[in-house]
Each structure stands twice: as structure tokens, then as C-alpha cells.
């Protein structure tokens, strides 16, 4: 964290008001996101209890598992939720543009959950569903494994910085706003919203207190509050079980209705709050480079979609060594690019990097626009030098490659020397790119004395590391091996039992 970001949190705490950390929203926000609020039963291994799902505030569908320990009911739930999510995903598998290799869908789905726990819940659900067999002793509906594979794909993709197909809204909010509370408390959606947009009649302090009171703000999941579990949910589930054992249809219907109502009371406040957060985020203008990054989402979506269409295998349980290394490389590159994109687009983020000494902004005090050098190939090329005077606490060393948001794209420079004297630093740069092809730099590509200019490190184009080609599907790490053996599917796929059988 930079001094500037830390200061923003201090300012927020002092003024009891959230402080913006960015000028723009750097995440793509779909015009039609699918919100899922998942709830799980405490103590069980990712046992779904309920979910509210829908792509508009007004038409959320509430799905409830009356007895989460019952295997059949869990799968009925997975199938119901799966159908809704797959319908949503399929609605983006319509318009394709481009030919052959470059053909891809023009839009991509976006699933929003309340908090990081929501992503974890979907990851568990994906793991539970993707290996299920659709025939044999423990057969599940076709949609279940399909849904499981898609969830796993979305969860994996979400690990990559700057992507937008699956996001917790708490993360989108904290990227843009600093609060006067800790990261831990920021993961509570209600606490976070208390700082950013408290209910109109309440102060931030009151809203924060309410946010931690489960009777006023039920937790945003996936766990429900223990008080609710013990006081309301456990007796209601017991009544449901009794009615089922007795085979009494009226009592069963009544018990189910009661459960639904109880759970609706817990889930609806979060549902509304997620949509409120979405409309807040919409009011923040989208950063220019976000659209470009979104194309990466569309490409990944298209590729996975085609992979599924060709009957691809479910993602394996654990990465292979090659898969893991490839993935790590991809994540690192994406993070560096995302950070640089943000700084390029957003003067708040640039200021943040400046505060951390990773970027600088200053005035050109000296320029040698006509300087040239002779290359190895005996060609004379322009290599102008300029000296920039800055008061930023620069921590960059000589030979660092730089890019600049203040000059036409393609501009590149390398640090020749850094001279610091108290609060002032003089940085001499050699301009190496973005000047056109001629011997004389094109107009406007070399900064002039007196000009204000900012630089930050070039994340650079790094070649993707080479790995053996056997594992050619980077997003799944599935060894769709030619031999036809399939280590990704466990032998006990169909028989793997669930929870306590009733």
C-alpha cells in the first residue's frame, strides 16, 4: 500500500466518510449482470442452503434446500440453479464476430456475488457438481455437471486481475473507495455500504452498528448467523423433516412455506444491497482501457464455450506441475498489465504509484531533441534525451524502461540517471520509441522544456513462457490427452456420496 492510499483510509476515518481511491471504475460492469447470493449451511462441507439469483433487482428467484443434508434435495437445488445460470450464460453464446481463429462472442456473462465468501461457495458448488455422472446409480440431471464445469471455469478466471466475469461486489467497491475501517470489516457488505452510502436517515456510525447486528442486517452469506440458525432455522427444518416422515402433504407444504419465508427474510436485505451497490458502481465512469480488457474476457469465454461444445472434459482436481506454472505466469502478467492500465487511465492511481515512488510527474527542464546514436547495424536513429525535475519520492533506478500517459501511445523511454537532492529529483531519460520511423522525431513525440510529464514503469511485453505442448488448454488444465485416459475424472465419480443420508 502506498502512503497516499493509507492516507485516504486515515482521512476516511477522520471525516467518517468514504474517500474515493480512483477516478474511474476499472472493472467492466455488464448491462445485465446475474446476481447470485448463495447461502450455505454451517458446519457442512459447502452444503447449499439457498440462493437468490436473477439479472434484475425486481425479479430474483429464491431457491431453497429444505433439508441441506439430503443428497437428492441438494442436487435438485444444483439443477434448478444450474438451469437459471446456464440460460443466462447461453444467452451470451449468440452473436459472434470475426472469422476462423479470431471469431468470438461480442459479449460475456458477468456473475456478481456479495463478497469473497460467495466466490468460495460457487467454487465448492462447482467442485461438487462437475464430476457427477448423468447415468447410473447416482445419476443427476445433465445440467448439473455442465453447470459445475462452468462455475469452475468462472472461479478460475476470476483469479486473474482485471477480469470481470465473476466478481464479489465488495471487491469492486473497495477498489474505488477507501473506508475508515479494516480490510476484514470491509468484507462485510453492509459495513462497507455503511461508509459509502449509509441509509438516508442514519449516520455512518449508526449504519456501521446496524451492519453488525444480525437482526437488522442479516449476514451477506454464505453463512447465516448462528442466532438465526438456532432460533429459527433449526426448528423449521425439524418441522419439515417431521412432516416428511409423517408423509403429511399439508404439513409439508406449510413447513416448506415457512422455511422459504424465513430464508427470504435473511437473503432479501443482501439482495437489495447488492443491487444498490451495483447502481452506485454504475455512477462511476468506466476507465478507458476497461473495454480492451473486457475483450480478453470475451475471448476466454468463447474459448471455453467452444471447448464445452466439443465435449471437453471437466477440470482436473489438482493442477499438474506444468498447468500450475503456466497459470502462475499468466496471473503475474495479468496483474502487472492491470496495474499499469489503471495508472495510465486514472490520475488517482497514478498519484498512488507516485506516492509509492513507482512513478513520477514533473517538468521538463532540459531537452536534447536532436540527439542521435548509431546502432550496431550502422543506422542513425533519434535518441533524444530530456531531464525531468520532480518532487516525487522516486525510487526507480537507471535502466528502468518507462511509458508515459502524457504522450502519444507508443512512447518509450529509459532512465539514464537519477539525481536526488533533498525533496527534488532530476531524472534524465533517453527516449527510445514512439517517435515515428524517420531520422527526426515526429512532431509532439519529444517533450519540450517547460512541459509537464508523467512516467511509470513499462510492464513490458513478456513472451509467454514455453511449456510442453501436451497440455494445450490453459484455462482448464485438463489433459484432454490423445490416449483417451482421463485422470481428471475420479473413478468414484458417480459413487461419491454426499453428506448424511436421511
Amino acid at each position: 500500500m502506498s502512503t497516499l492510499s493509507a492516507l485516504a483510509h486515515v482521512q476516511a476515518m477522520e471525516s467518517m466518510q468514504a474517500v474515493p481511491l480512483t477516478e474511474f471504475r476499472h472493472r467492466h460492469l455488464s448491462g445485465r449482470p446475474l446476481v447470485i447470493v448463495p447461502l450455505a449451511m454451517a458446519g457442512e462441507a459447502g452444503a447449499p442452503l439457498a440462493a437468490m439469483v436473477g439479472s434484475a433487482k425486481r425479479n430474483g428467484t429464491l431457491l431453497v434446500v429444505a433439508q441441506p443434508r439430503n443428497r437428492d434435495q441438494r442436487f435438485a437445488f444444483a439443477a434448478d440453479l444450474g438451469r437459471i445460470v446456464m440460460d443466462y450464460i447461453d444467452s451470451f453464446r449468440q452473436d459472434r464476430r470475426g472469422e476462423g481463429e479470431r471469431s468470438r462472442y461480442t459479449e460475456a456473462p458477468q456473475i456478481l456475488v456479495p463478497n469473497p465468501g460467495g466466490v468460495k461457495a460457487l467454487a465448492d458448488l462447482g467442485r461438487m457438481c462437475r464430476f457427477r455422472a448423468t447415468s447410473g446409480p447416482y445419476a443427476v440431471p445433465d445440467v448439473v455437471p455442465e453447470f459445475g464445469m462452468w462455475l469452475t471455469f468462472l472461479v478460475d478466471w476470476a483469479e486473474q486481475a482485471g477480469t470481470s466475469m465473476l466478481l464479489p461486489v465488495t471487491e469492486m467497491l473497495t477498489e474505488h473507495w477507501a473506508t475508515g475501517q479494516s480490510t476484514l470489516e470491509d468484507q462485510n457488505l453492509a459495513s462497507l455500504m455503511a461508509w459509502i452510502s449509509p441509509p438516508s436517515s442514519l449516520s455512518v456510525e449508526q449504519a456501521m452498528a446496524d451492519a453488525e447486528n444480525p437482526d437488522v442486517c442479516p449476514p451477506a452469506g454464505p453463512s447465516t448467523s448462528p442466532e438465526f440458525d438456532n432460533r429459527d432455522l433449526a426448528p423449521a427444518i425439524r418441522r419439515f423433516d417431521t412432516a416428511r416422515t409423517l408423509g403429511d402433504p399439508h404439513a409439508l407444504a406449510a413447513a416448506e412455506a415457512e422455511l422459504r419465508e424465513l430464508i427470504a427474510g435473511q437473503i432479501q436485505p443482501t439482495w437489495r444491497m447488492v443491487w444498490q451497490a451495483i447502481s452506485l458502481l454504475r455512477s462511476v465512469p468506466e476507465a478507458p482501457r476497461t473495454a480492451k480488457r473486457f475483450e480478453g474476457d470475451c475471448k476466454a469465454f468463447t474459448d471455453y464455450s467452444d471447448y464445452r461444445d466439443s465435449g471437453g472434459l471437466p477440470q482436473r482436481k489438482r493442477d499438474t506441475a506444468i498447468g500450475a506454472a503456466r497459470r502462475l505466469g499468466r496471473l503475474e502478467r495479468a496483474l502487472a498489465e492491470f496495474e499499469s492500465d489503471m495508472a495510465f487511465d486514472d490520475r488517482f492511481v497514478l498519484a498512488d504509484r507516485r506516492s509509492a515512488g513507482e512513478a513520477f510527474d514533473g517538468t521538463v527542464v532540459k531537452a536534447e531533441p536532436g540527439r542521435t546514436v548509431t546502432t550496431d547495424k550502422n543506422r542513425r536513429v533519434p535518441r533524444p534525451r530530456v531531464t525531468v525535475r520532480t518532487e516525487d519520492p522516486v525510487r526507480l533506478a537507471a535502466d528502468t524502461k518507462l511509458i508515459s500517459p502524457s504522450l502519444p501511445t507508443g512512447h518509450k523511454a529509459t532512465i539514464v540517471s537519477v539525481l536526488s537532492d533533498r525533496d527534488v529529483t532530476q531524472i534524465t531519460l533517453e527516449i527510445t520509441g514512439g517517435m515515428g520511423r524517420g531520422r527526426v522525431p515526429k512532431q509532439g513525440t519529444v517533450p519540450e522544456p517547460g512541459q509537464r510529464i508523467a512516467y511509470l514503469p513499462d510492464p513490458g511485453w513478456r513472451p509467454a513462457p514455453q511449456f510442453p505442448a501436451s497440455d494445450a488448454t490453459p484455462w482448464t488444465h485438463s489433459a484432454a490427452g490423445a490416449a483417451g485416459t482421463d485422470p481428471a475424472v475420479p473413478e468414484d465419480a458417480a459413487a461419491e456420496e454426499w453428506g448424511n443420508e436421511d
Binding site: T3, E44, A45, L184, E391
Partner: protein, 379 residues
């Protein structure tokens, strides 16, 4: 005459019954070892929940009955039929060679469930086993004892001490899942820390009979549900580091006298309960007493300590940077409050010698911030 440390601790607790350490409170030591208030409340056996509640900051550590039921059911299943499932995991998953297995339930002392008797029985049986007598392999419900700050704390693990190749191993049965051979790291850590208390207590028990500490392994056997099933699987967890850490914390408790010496003579956390156990002490007075003791609040306390809401509200009232957590705090090494940060940032305070550099960075950040806001920031 100067009062003894024990007298002082008793006076801190006041008239309430002494609460002893248990595996959970010992485990919590690891989370905030430097906190004076916590050390005093625990060492004096004060009821933290009651105290926090009385000063208007009740803790919220409710446990869902679903989690409890699930935990109990899983444990019972693993231990059923003389630990049949447990043995299967030990043999099949962990590839341990267990020839003949003798199972002994130490809970069973002829209907006498008192801690002392049960402990004596545990002691007797485990010592015999350690000396290679008897054919016990699995010992269920041992009652262990630790001397902490001169007080006996009985620890009653829901676990089994397993004896293989002449060494005891602690087996922890937990109901969080191990999915694709990976379990949630926070939960594993919590389970390990608890098991450490048992390792130390077991070593202590054997040590009193002159048996060296290598007789108890510091590798724990974790048994938990596999994937999404009810079937158990197992894993070895290396607890060396945590055993060392907990040993260090415990030795600190032995030196609690140093902390007590720094306290005002008349300080007490007494709730002065009436016959119905309702506190009669005015809440403001109790708050004042708490306020006189140093705390080292951090947001993580919210997950571990009963006093967390009190400490947070105190940190907020003091405008302490502790409220924001270590990530922000680290940026301002040596500065404690938001007032100080803002004062330096605005150039209204003169930095001390070791704050000069920080103050310059802050003024720079404040200048950047002002520039951004001048140009009309977002939202």
C-alpha cells in the same frame, strides 16, 4: 507486606468464580500474544464474556447448532466400533502399520467423572503405555493437565492419543472438509494450535515421570471428512513451530507478575455479582478499570477475543490507527493516531527526528491528494 501475584490476580477477578484456561483460550494466546489486558484477564481467570457484556460490548461468538451437531456426529462416526473408521484411515490413507490394536476409553472411570480422578487414571494408563507395558494403542478421552501460572488447567481433548512405534501422536478429529487433499488453512491452523496444548500437556505428564519429550511426536494426525462426503480421510500436520510458539506464550504467563506489578494497587475487574449472578458494579466504573490497562487491538481480534468490540470502540475513541489494521498501520511506522497523521500531513505538527522522513512522505501524499480533489475527484 507485599501481596503475592496470586493474591493480586484474585483481586483482579474479584468475587466471581475462577475460570480456567482451556484449549481454546490457550489457542487464542497465539493470536495476540502481546496484549496485556488479555493476559491479565486470562491469568486471573476472569469471565471475559461477562465483562465485555457488562460494559456494553457483548461478544458475538455464537455457534450454530448445525455446526455442533455435524461435529459431534462426525466424531462419533469416526470413533464408532472401537475407532474402526479411524483405524481404516490410519492404515489406508496414512499407511501406518498397526498390527494389533488395543482401544482404551479413559472417560470410563467407574462413573467417577471428576477431573482429578480422570486425570489420575489417564496418567496411570499412559505412563504404563509409555513404559511399554500393556497393549494399548488408542487412548480415547484422556484428561490432561497443564500447570499454567501455578494453576491447574484440565484439558479434555475430544481426541485420541495414538501410540505407534513407541511414540504418542495426537489425533485431532475435525469436521471441516479436506477437499482434493486441501483444507482451509485458517481452520487447520486453529486445529493445530489446540493440539499443541495437548502435546505440551502430554509431554508434561510424561516428563514428571522422567520420560523425555521425544516420546510425544509434534506431528499431528488430522482426521476430517473427505471432499463432500461423510467418510473420513487423514493428513499429517507438522506442529513444531506452533508448539514452540505456545511454549513461549506459556512461559510468559509464568512471568505475569511483571505485568501485575505495573498495575495500580486498587485495580479490579470485579463484576460484584448479586445472588442471581447479575453484576452490580456500575458499568462506567468497570470501563474505567479496563481503560487503565494497555491493549494492542487489531482487527483480527474480532475473530478471536471476547473483548474485541470493547477494544475496538476504545481504539476508535482514541483515533488509533489500530482500527485500520496492520496494512495501513505499517505505512506510518511509529505514529499511533489519525490526528498525528493528519497533523503531519497538513504540516501543522512538527515531526520528531525519526518522523522527518515519514512526514515528508505524508506531506507529499497530502499535496497529491489536494491536487486530485482540486481537479474534482470521482464521486
Amino acid at each position: 507486606m507485599k501481596k503475592t501475584v496470586d493474591d493480586r490476580l484474585a483481586a483482579l477477578r474479584g468475587s466471581a468464580k475462577r475460570l480456567d484456561y482451556n484449549a481454546r483460550s490457550l489457542a487464542a494466546l497465539e493470536n495476540n500474544p502481546r496484549c496485556t489486558l488479555r493476559a491479565l484477564l486470562d491469568a486471573s481467570g476472569s469471565d471475559k464474556t461477562a465483562i465485555a457484556t457488562h460494559v456494553g460490548h457483548p461478544p458475538s461468538f455464537g455457534q450454530s447448532s448445525f455446526a455442533i451437531t455435524r461435529g459431534n456426529a462426525f466424531e462419533a462416526m469416526v470413533k464408532d466400533n472401537g475407532c474402526a473408521e479411524l483405524l481404516r484411515v490410519l492404515r489406508e490413507t496414512l499407511h501406518l502399520t498397526l498390527p494389533e490394536v488395543g482401544y482404551e476409553d479413559l472417560n470410563d472411570v467407574g462413573g467417577d467423572g471428576r477431573s482429578k480422578e480422570r486425570h489420575e487414571r489417564t496418567e496411570e494408563v499412559l505412563l504404563r503405555a509409555a513404559r511399554g507395558e500393556g497393549d494399548g494403542t488408542l487412548f480415547d478421552h484422556p484428561m490432561l493437565r497443564l500447570l499454567i501460572g501455578g494453576h491447574k488447567a484440565y484439558l479434555e481433548p475430544d481426541l485420541v492419543a495414538l501410540r505407534i512405534d513407541g511414540r504418542f501422536h495426537i489425533v485431532e478429529i475435525k469436521s471441516f472438509p479436506i477437499i482434493d487433499e486441501q483444507a482451509d488453512s485458517t481452520q487447520v491452523r486453529a486445529a493445530t494450535t489446540q493440539a499443541c496444548a495437548y502435546i505440551i500437556a502430554l509431554r508434561d505428564l510424561l516428563g514428571r515421570a522422567g520420560i523425555g519429550e521425544q516420546a510425544v511426536s509434534d506431528t499431528i494426525v488430522l482426521v476430517a471428512p473427505k471432499d463432500f462426503t461423510n467418510r473420513p480421510t487423514g493428513a499429517f500436520v507438522d506442529a513444531r513451530k506452533q508448539v514452540a510458539a505456545l511454549t513461549r506464550q506459556l512461559s510468559r504467563i509464568e512471568r505475569i507478575g511483571d505485568l501485575v506489578d505495573l498495575l495500580p494497587e486498587d485495580l479490579t475487574f470485579d463484576l460484584a455479582p448479586d445472588a442471581e449472578d447479575r453484576p452490580r458494579r456500575p458499568a462506567e466504573e468497570l470501563t474505567e478499570a479496563l481503560d487503565r490497562v494497555l491493549v494492542t487491538y487489531r482487527p483480527d481480534c474480532l475473530n478471536h477475543c471476547e473483548m474485541a468490540f470493547y477494544c475496538r470502540s476504545r481504539a476508535r475513541a482514541e483515533a488509533s490507527l489500530d482500527v485500520l489494521g496492520p496494512v495501513v498501520r505499517e505505512q506510518f511506522g511509529g505514529i499511533d493516531t489519525t490526528t498525528m497523521v493528519m497533523g503531519l500531513a497538513r504540516g501543522e505538527l512538527t515531526p520528531s527526528e525519526d518522523q522527518v522522513e515519514m512526514a515528508a512522505a505524508l506531506r507529499h501524499a497530502a499535496r497529491l491528494r489536494a491536487e486530485l480533489e482540486d481537479l474534482g475527484g470521482a464521486a
